[in-house]
Point group: C2
Chain length 404, copies 2
């Protein structure tokens, strides 16, 4: 067994309340997954993540492959043991970072040659190699090696990228299937294995997205195929309407009995919106990256947890003597203990604790949001969709939301 | 009442087991006090300090006066409330940082004019002003405004510095005595007040040290004088033998019924040594500063908590795949959860969590050391003095151990 997905409830709008049973953790979905790029959710300790209720976090294959190296992590018992995280783990394929961070890329049908952004050393990633690295890391869920189509991309570029991604998905699936028993915890956990998710690409072209989804689903040979499906290539700079359009196009084509993961999104109101549409898993660096920049998410009316999301710039002078918590309705350890005035002082003074506390609050805010959505979905409430308010996207500009 | 000091036991070597009863906390002494320079023990959250058992921490008057400002802190309920630290607090006088950090100092009998190291703005500190600032901050213990004699200093320089420090001690005492009811928690805590500690200076001259101690003790008019006595001007670059010599010279001259505080020391074996000689309080930035640099203190034989202190450089390649905790005999949350390999990875990758976890371990190591010493002193065990092993002092070079 690699993964069980138990659908508990579904709303008319498509939102699903489910349990994702992984070798290391049963995850309540829809779920938001904090990003632990290099084996640490930046500035936040593992016991704090546990207290916050995080059930699954991400690791980035590209970063961990370069440093400390996947073989070193395998020797130390896999990523769970290495970072002391007994709960769920997901690794991406490395593809996204190869295309966004690495230098001097040369893409062929076989794979990608690139130079490390750390030291300029030369590396060659193929779908098979990405699988080998991810097997060594040993996350519960691994991702197919794909080419994330940039935005904007013209149709022929998106088509070529899609062709490559589909061929690589097949090779990823074949290679993982042949080697899935090599994961370090295979025997210890009674013969369980990693699950591979396929990734839908296709740029911002609805028909290419459809083609990508259909071809991935076809790869599911007699049930031994993908454990779930991701929608990639979003949150790459496109307007939110387009993100929504692509998700809406793809979701109905994916098998209802498998989890659906939208990669790299987003703002708190976005993840709520997509979860209500039927997206089961999402991840984003925003809560921690924004936190490090002194930006926190709060509710417009703290007493109404369904009110609009507001972004607060902690550094602003108006917070200097504000003795309220960041969000008076938030139950997190930061809002229970510290004032805006103190947090403003920490950020203004460059104290590391400021980044930590703001990140903790933001993660709590995201996780609380998803907990509320799960409650709604479980109750079968058919809520009107939230206001489609646009959040400023300055933080995204020119940077990846998949790792940090 | 400002302070009670209840001596519980004393050894032949002079070591004292006592309780220091402060308005906000009863502190078991001898005690090591973590330094929270700008209102945060760098990279460590307040709940973690509580879990570690820290009963009193320091705040630096110079830093907090400049940012966010003592009047702002007073308006926010004083430093305890501002930083959400309900336990004991001590503030220094600002003098040390004025002399080590500020620019363009001009000293007169009246006080010191200086420019802020942050923005170059001009400020004038007098003993009276230092007291007013410390009253606004509202720590349980405040320090007399002194001039910390630099090392090396010739005899006439040390004499002149001592003259100034003694005059300023008198003025500090008079001003605090006249205004001690202004502290923000005075009424809330049933009329309790802050305690002022006098500071012994005198450079590295035994006779000047003696003179300084005797003159300070004489200022104790009918019991309404200093709540305790500090030995300042140490750990300023002198060899450890000289530190020890000055402490040995001064301790017998100080009243036995009041706490004795050696400022800004030191290495774990140093604080143990001085505690066994009769020093009740010590503070130092070393555990956190070393932690941020990837340097941690461990026992040579982890099973023997009395074995020598060893400094481990976490970054070293030899730790890359070491699956042991930093210190196998340490009960701290870091040693209970994380391996040297993981901590090495965090430090090498520049992950903020590395600084946090190393700092937590070092603080735990210091606090554990003092807990063990307290146990020994309470049992009346007259242990042989530990080896006087010298620790490398690279971390001290040219920098202050009083704030960071």
């Amino acid at each position: 067994m690699a993964l069980d997905f138990n659908l508990l409830n579904q709303t008319e709008a498509g939102g699903r309340r489910a349990q994702l049973v992984l070798p290391h953790q049963t995850v309540e979905t829809p779920v938001f997954m904090p990003v632990g790029t290099a084996g640490s959710v930046k500035a936040v300790a593992q016991d704090v993540l546990e207290t916050l209720g995080a059930e699954i976090i991400l690791g980035n294959t590209y970063h961990l492959y370069l440093r400390p190296g996947h073989e070193a992590i395998r020797r130390m018992g896999g990523l769970h043991r290495f970072i002391s995280w007994p709960r769920g783990l997901l690794t991406d394929s490395g593809g996204f970072q190869v295309f966004s961070l690495a230098q001097l890329r040369k893409v062929s049908d076989e794979g990608v040659r690139f130079r490390s952004h750390l030291d300029g050393s030369s590396h060659f990633f193929t779908p098979e190699h990405s699988m080998d690295v991810q097997i060594a890391l040993g996350a519960d869920i691994v991702m197919a090696f794909d080419e994330c189509t940039e935005y904007p991309a013209d149709r022929s570029r998106a088509q070529e990228s899609l062709r490559l991604t589909m061929a690589w998905a097949r090779r990823s699936l074949d290679h993982l299937t042949a080697h899935r028993e090599k994961v370090v915890w295979h025997e210890e956990l009674g013969g369980q294995t990693q699950s591979l998710f396929g990734i839908v690409q296709g740029g911002m072209y609805r028909d290419l997205r459809r083609e990508s989804a259909e071809r991935l689903v076809e790869m599911d040979d007699a049930g031994s195929g993908f454990g779930g499906y991701a929608i990639g290539g979003l949150s790459v700079g496109e307007p939110r309407e387009l993100t929504l359009e692509m998700i809406s196009e793809v979701l109905p084509l994916l098998p209802a009995n498998k989890p659906r993961y939208v990669m790299g999104v987003g703002y708190p109101d976005e993840i709520e919106q997509y979860a209500r549409m039927g997206v089961d898993m999402m991840d984003c660096v925003l809560p921690t990256r924004a936190g490090r920049h002194g930006l926190v998410f709060v509710r417009e009316d703290p007493k109404d947890r369904r009110s609009a999301v507001v972004r607060l710039n902690v550094k602003k002078l108006e917070n200097a003597e504000d003795q309220r918590p960041l969000d008076e309705g938030c139950a997190c350890m930061v809002c229970q203990r510290y004032t805006r005035g103190y947090l403003r002082h920490l950020v203004s003074s460059g104290e590391q604790l400021g980044a930590t506390l703001n990140s903790i609050h933001n993660l709590a805010f995201y996780l609380e949001t998803m907990e509320r959505v799960r409650g709604d979905l479980a109750g079968g409430q058919l809520l009107a969709k939230g206001k489609n308010g646009r959040s400023p996207r300055e933080l995204e500009a020119g940077s990846s939301l998949r790792s940090e």
